[in-house]
Symmetry: C2
Subunit: 253 residues, 2 copies
Amino acid sequence: MKKIINIANQKGGVGKTTTVLNLGVGLSLWEKKVLIIDFDPQGNSTTGIGILKKNLNHTIYSVLSGEINIKDAIIKFEKNPYLDFIPAGEDLSGFPMEVYDDNNRIYYLKNLVDQIKNDYEYILIDSPPSLNLLTLNSIVAATDVLIPVQAEFYALEGLAQLMMTLKKVERYTGKKVNILGFLVTMYDVRTSISKQVHQELTRYFEKKVLTTIIPRNVRISEAPGYGETVLTYAPASKGAFAYKELIAELLEK
Amino acid sequence: MKKIINIANQKGGVGKTTTVLNLGVGLSLWEKKVLIIDFDPQGNSTTGIGILKKNLNHTIYSVLSGEINIKDAIIKFEKNPYLDFIPAGEDLSGFPMEVYDDNNRIYYLKNLVDQIKNDYEYILIDSPPSLNLLTLNSIVAATDVLIPVQAEFYALEGLAQLMMTLKKVERYTGKKVNILGFLVTMYDVRTSISKQVHQELTRYFEKKVLTTIIPRNVRISEAPGYGETVLTYAPASKGAFAYKELIAELLEK
Ligand SMILES: Nc1ncnc2c1ncn2[C@@H]1O[C@H](COP(=O)(O)OP(=O)(O)OP(=O)(O)O)[C@@H](O)[C@H]1O
Ligand SMILES: Nc1ncnc2c1ncn2[C@@H]1O[C@H](COP(=O)(O)OP(=O)(O)OP(=O)(O)O)[C@@H](O)[C@H]1O
Ligand SMILES: [Mg+2]
Ligand SMILES: [Mg+2]
C-alpha cells in the first residue's frame, strides 16, 4: 500500500470528482492496483465512471450500516483489471445523523479501508463539498490529502478553514495528516484571475503547490458523459496531458 | 413584500452565489428594496459583494445565537440605498449541531426573516452546497426557490434528491414551496453537453425552466474580484445582458 489519497475541498465545483476519476483511472492505466471510493452522497464519481445507480444493489452505505462486508461492495471492470470501485448513493447522506453521538464517528471509514488497504497500491476517496462528518471520515481514513483549487475568485476563501479542520483532525487522532499538495484546476490562460490565484496560493503554501496545473478544457467536462475520463476520451487534449503530468508528478512523491 | 427567494442546489459550483448577487444587486438597480442574506458558512456572497470579513463585528450567526437583533446585523451601502445585506462567517457552520434536537430547528431563519420582511420587496438567501439544516432553514424561510443548474454533465444528477427534499419540507411545514424556476447557468454554445442538459431539464420540468439562460462568461467570474457584479463591472457583456434578462423575466412572475 503506497497512499490513501482523500481529494477534499469544501468549496463546490472545484474539480474534486474530476480529479479522483482522472487520477484513479490514470494510475490504473500505469498498471498500479487502484481502488476508488465514492464518499459523496451526490454519487458523481459513481456516475462519472459509468456505473448506473439504479442497477446498484449495494453502496458504501451498505457497508457502513453493517449490511455487507466491504469486499462485497467492490465493483470490478472487465476492461481494466487494475481498477476497483466502491459506489455511493443518496443513502450515504443519512450516515452523519445516525452516528452523531458515537465517539468512534470519525473512524468508521478508516476501520473499513484498513481491512482491504493491502490489496491496493493507491486508494482514492472522493468527498462532498462540505466539512461534515463524511469529509472528516475521508481525511482520517487517508494517508494524504490532495486539495484541488479552482483558479477563480472565491477559491482561496475557504482554505484557511480547511487547514484548521486538518489541524483539528490531527489533534483528535494524534496522527499527522500529510498534504500531498494543492492542485490548481480550471486554469484559464486568458484571465488574470487564474494567474493571481496561482500566485497567491504559491505565496501561502510554497512547495506544497503542485507544479502541474490543470487547464480549463472542455474535453475534461465532456468525458464523464461517456463514462470515460479525458485520458481515454480525448488522449491528445490539453486536459489529458495535464492529468498525465499530474500522475507522473505524484508517482515521484 | 413580494418574494423571499432561496437560491438552492446541493451540487457545488453551479452559480448559486453568483445568481444571488447579480439578481439582488440588479433588482436594487431597478429600485426595488432588496435584502440579501448570506446563509453559507463559506461566506462567498459576503466577500463577493465587497465586504471584508475581518472587519465584521456581527454575522447572521450572531442573530441566530440571540446575541443581537436581526436589525443590528443589517449592513447598508452608501452608494445604493435600495440594497441591504446580512453577512455570514465560519461561525455559521456550528449552528446545525447546536440545534439538532430542537423541534423548531428548521424555523430559526424563518422566525428572523418574518420580523423584517415587510421592510423589503425582495429578500434573497444564498445557501451552501448541501441539503443540511442550513439549506432546510433557507427553504422554509422562503416563499420561492430558484434552482441554478450548470449546463454540464453532473448537473441533473442531484435534482431528484432536491425535489424530494422540497416535498419533505412541504409535508413537515404544511406549506407549499413554490419553485420559481430552474435557471441554466454557464451555458457554452460550443459544447453539445450544454444543449443536452437544457433539453433534458426542459423535458422533466417543462414550463418551470426559465427562458433566460446565463452563458459562461469570463466577465461574470471576474466581477467579484472587484466587489462588483457583472452588471456594473461589464455592463455591455453577454453576462450582464443575461442577468438583466433574468431580472425582467422574474419581475413579470
Ligand atoms: N479542468 C476542467 N476543465 C473544464 N471543466 C472541468 C474541469 N474540471 C472539472 N470540470 C467540470 O466542472 C464541473 C465541476 O467539477 P467536479 O464535479 O469535478 O467538481 P467537484 O469539486 O467534485 O464538485 P462538488 O463540489 O459538487 O463535488 C463538472 O461539470 C466538471 O466536468
Ligand atoms: N455564468 C458564469 N460564467 C463564468 N463563470 C461563472 C458563471 N457563474 C459563476 N461563475 C464562476 O464559477 C464559480 C462558481 O460559481 P459560484 O461560486 O457562484 O457557485 P456556487 O453554486 O455558489 O458554489 P458553492 O456550491 O461553492 O456555493 C465562481 O468562481 C464564479 O465566479
Ligand atoms: Mg464532486
Ligand atoms: Mg456559493
